[in-house]
Symmetry: C2
Subunit: 201 residues, 2 copies
């Protein structure tokens, strides 16, 4: 997780501490706001008020609420970038494309480390769980479901999430020996047909 600057009292006029100090202060305020109100309840305006800056400055540094959340929790995914990339390929290769995308990303030590921290804190902390759940539902599953264009799209996307999350937990958190030592290609061969079936069959 990133380290945040010590919060400074609010003052009028130009933000203190230069660009980097302001950015850090907004990030710290975002963590506080998400922690207090959850993902759905948190607002850019509330975060700006905590940080003593304009909402426009928050958008300037971080973009949307989803972007800011991803940055604030050190999330190893950026749904606004990742989902279109995953869904770009042919529909009958979606399963392979999605599993490869996620598994290869988690082979990178920085992604894996932040991902494990996020999974551990979201699943272990009664308080953080709904934060991850609503972020997943709204930003990740919602985007995938919108692309699928079938009546049970949300269930299909959620079942994919259950298999992919379970796989990441088995490989990188529990480190079950057979899953942790398997190659990415071996896992894709086994898991991709599952994801393909959940999404399109």
């Amino acid at each position: 997780m990133p380290e945040y600057a010590v919060p400074t009292p609010r003052r009028r006029g130009r933000p203190r501490g230069g660009e980097s100090g302001t950015r850090d202060r907004i990030l710290g305020s975002a963590v506080d706001e998400f922690a207090e109100h959850g993902y759905d309840g948190a607002t850019i305006r509330g975060i700006a008020t905590r940080a003593g800056v304009d909402s426009a400055l928050v958008h300037h540094y971080f973009g949307t609420k989803a972007d800011l959340f991803a940055e604030a929790v050190g999330a190893p995914m950026r749904p606004d970038v990742d989902v279109p990339a995953i869904l770009a390929g042919p529909r009958d290769e979606l399963g392979e494309h999605l599993v490869r995308y996620v598994l290869e990303a988690w082979e990178r030590p920085d992604v894996r480390k932040r991902g494990v921290v996020l999974l551990r804190s979201a699943l272990g902390n009664r308080f953080a769980t709904p934060l991850l759940a609503s972020f997943l539902s709204r930003e990740l599953l919602g985007r995938i479901a919108a692309e699928l264009d079938v009546p049970d799209a949300e269930l299909r996307a959620s079942l994919v999430a259950s298999q992919v999350a379970g796989l990441l937990i088995a490989r990188h958190v529990l480190k079950l020996p057979a899953v942790a030592s398997a190659s990415v290609d071996e896992l894709i061969a086994r898991i991709a047909p599952t994801v393909q079936r959940y999404l399109t069959e």
Copy 2:
């Protein structure tokens, strides 16, 4: 989680506190022993020594180390009972049988509550994770793999665990709306073919 009696100093001769006090003291000692040495390193002898009783008495009250662990962590599964029950049916219905067995068990409030506590603590606590992982590998996946009689049995069993754990997390921990509100039969229809494929195809 159960509450344990306050540990009493070891003394020779008959255990103090009557049957119920002794049983509670052994359980408390088991939690300490598993916490300190992990599942693989913990011994019945070590637990007996902590509790100030004979190993035979531990076996008398709790049976095997796996039984005692299940009781000590309030585990919602008893691999020695559950695995034979799951594997008893026809081989081509294994997927449906397994998914139904687990999902129906977790519909019971007592099982669900202890299961969620176990998942949360094992995934959230860096220290508890290997405890669950080695218990799963040895007592659950090992038993299933032994029945499958194929070279990649451990990987197959571990992939099943990844989907089933992911499903339980999505339904009962994250409570993703589409998965949390689906009927058991609906989920079986979607997930059972996955489990069947991992196990036998």
